[in-house]
């Protein structure tokens, strides 16, 4: 059984809830090495996503992600806006008009999202950015897919790998984004974008029915 529009809407709804719940934590991370607005920006961005969904309920997963992309790009304000916006937009394009997404399509969408972030931000693995969460997530998703995992297993693997990836940013020196102005002083803090990416991918797995927090 594939994932439908209900999953996509639930994903975005849980994302909005997580961004609200973790708002202060993301602000604190961003205060250490950035401009301390990531938590507020993501919270506002996903509130805008929820408003858009309420106004025009999407009919396909792709349409839901496209709607989210537009809202995030316009309402987030910081670098996360164009980055997540591009990610969701590329994922939406990859999913096309499908009403049901299987594991293959899902892994393809995750890859497209990661590639969009890389293209927009021009960051590489190890630059202490959200790429450090997304790239391991995509690899883990592909591995699960290769051994015949279903869509839920793909998302669960991606979420767990993203969480590990976010933690690996702690000791890194930032080479992209606002934190790169700090140079060596950026080491010892988790990248806020990698942290929010891990939360969003966790929301995707939870929305698909994977038991919350079981990968912790």
């Amino acid at each position: 059984m594939g994932l439908g529009v209900d999953w996509a809407v639930q994903w975005l709804t849980l994302s909005a809830r997580l961004m609200s719940e973790h708002r202060e934590e993301l602000i604190a991370l961003d205060r250490a090495i950035g401009d301390s607005d990531h938590g507020e920006n993501m919270d506002r961005g996903f509130q805008a996503v929820m408003e858009k969904i309420a106004q025009t309920p999407p009919e396909t997963p792709g349409a839901a992600l496209k709607l989210a992309a537009m809202a995030l790009m316009s309402k987030v304000g910081g670098a996360a806006g164009p980055l997540y916006g591009t990610a969701y937009l590329r994922a939406a394009t990859a999913l096309g008009e499908s009403t049901e997404i299987d594991a293959v399509a899902l892994a393809g969408a995750l890859t497209a999202a990661r590639d969009g972030i890389v293209a927009r931000g021009k960051a590489e693995l190890g630059d202490k950015t959200m790429v450090d969460a997304w790239s391991p997530a995509v690899e883990a998703a592909d591995e699960v897919l290769a051994v015949g995992g279903d869509a839920v297993a793909v998302l669960a693997a991606a979420a767990e790998a993203a969480e590990v990836g976010a933690v690996t940013t702690d000791p890194l020196v930032a080479r992209k984004g606002r934190a790169s102005y700090l140079g060596e002083r950026s080491a010892g803090h988790r990248d806020p974008g990698a942290a929010s990416s891990a939360l969003l991918l966790r929301a995707a797995a939870t929305a698909a029915g994977f038991p919350e927090g079981s990968a912790e």
Binding site: D37, M73, S74, A79, P82, L83, G177
Partner: protein
């Protein structure tokens, strides 16, 4: 018939302030400042940026738009807006310091330059001593042999070499297929030309290499003889 200039900043005040400054030297140029979010916070806004691109494309009478940005996410927002824009081929993103780049772009635009030249004028601005961009280096005349053209001019305008003449020289030279130095510094760098601090009666020695060498010398001669439009 001028190119439109778009400024995408995190701050409405920066966008409008940079435009205010540049417009002093370019009264006929259309500027489109975009800054801050729609609820007044610091940040960049895709919708407003797309709207500015579309307004500029509809109104600007030149061959397109040139976009100046401040920090990282403004660049990303401008790139995203380009993907949604109706005529992306007519919108050029300049990789330049915002204020100095905008001034250079504005002066080049005021002079009737095409979009590609305006972008080059903005990108010719660099801070401080010019780093060598490639092995040959844009500044050192050593190793390039005798210049194809060279000539010395006396400044007749009362103010001598200040921001506007420097921007005019740099903007024009940036659009030519030439490597040119003025008193030994990069002729396409506003900051270096200003740092020469040549006053009225002082001399500018132009040396030029490349296909447009004589055009470059003639261009500077015309500006100097006209007193940069100040007399």
């Amino acid at each position: 018939m001028t190119v439109g200039l778009v400024v995408v900043s995190h701050s409405r005040k920066i966008a409008e302030g940079a435009v205010e400054l540049a417009a002093q030297m370019a009264p006929d140029v259309k500027f489109y400042p975009v800054g801050g979010t729609d609820d007044g916070r610091v940040g960049t806004d895709l919708e407003k940026t797309i709207a500015a691109f579309e307004a500029g494309l509809a109104e600007a009478s030149g061959d397109g738009l040139v976009v100046l940005t401040d920090l990282g996410s403004a660049v990303m927002t401008a790139e995203s807006a380009l993907e949604f824009c109706s005529e992306p081929d007519r919108v050029l993103l300049a990789d330049a310091p915002l204020v100095e780049g905008l001034v250079a772009a504005a002066v080049a635009t005021q002079g009737g330059a095409l979009a590609a030249t305006v972008k080059a004028a903005a990108e010719s601005v660099r801070f401080g001593p010019q780093p060598t961009l490639n092995a040959a280096g844009p500044v050192q005349s050593q190793g390039r042999g005798e210049p194809a053209e060279s000539e010395e001019f006396e400044l007749i305008n009362p103010m001598g070499m200040h921001a506007r003449p420097a921007a005019k020289i740099a903007g024009g030279l940036a659009g030519l297929d030439v490597e040119a130095t003025v008193n030994g510094v990069d002729g396409t760098s506003i900051m270096e030309l200003m740092s020469l601090a040549v006053g009225q009666g002082g001399k500018l020695r132009v040396e030029a290499w490349g296909k447009d060498a004589s055009k470059a010398v003639n261009y500077v001669r015309r500006l100097v003889e006209q007193g940069f439009g100040e007399i």
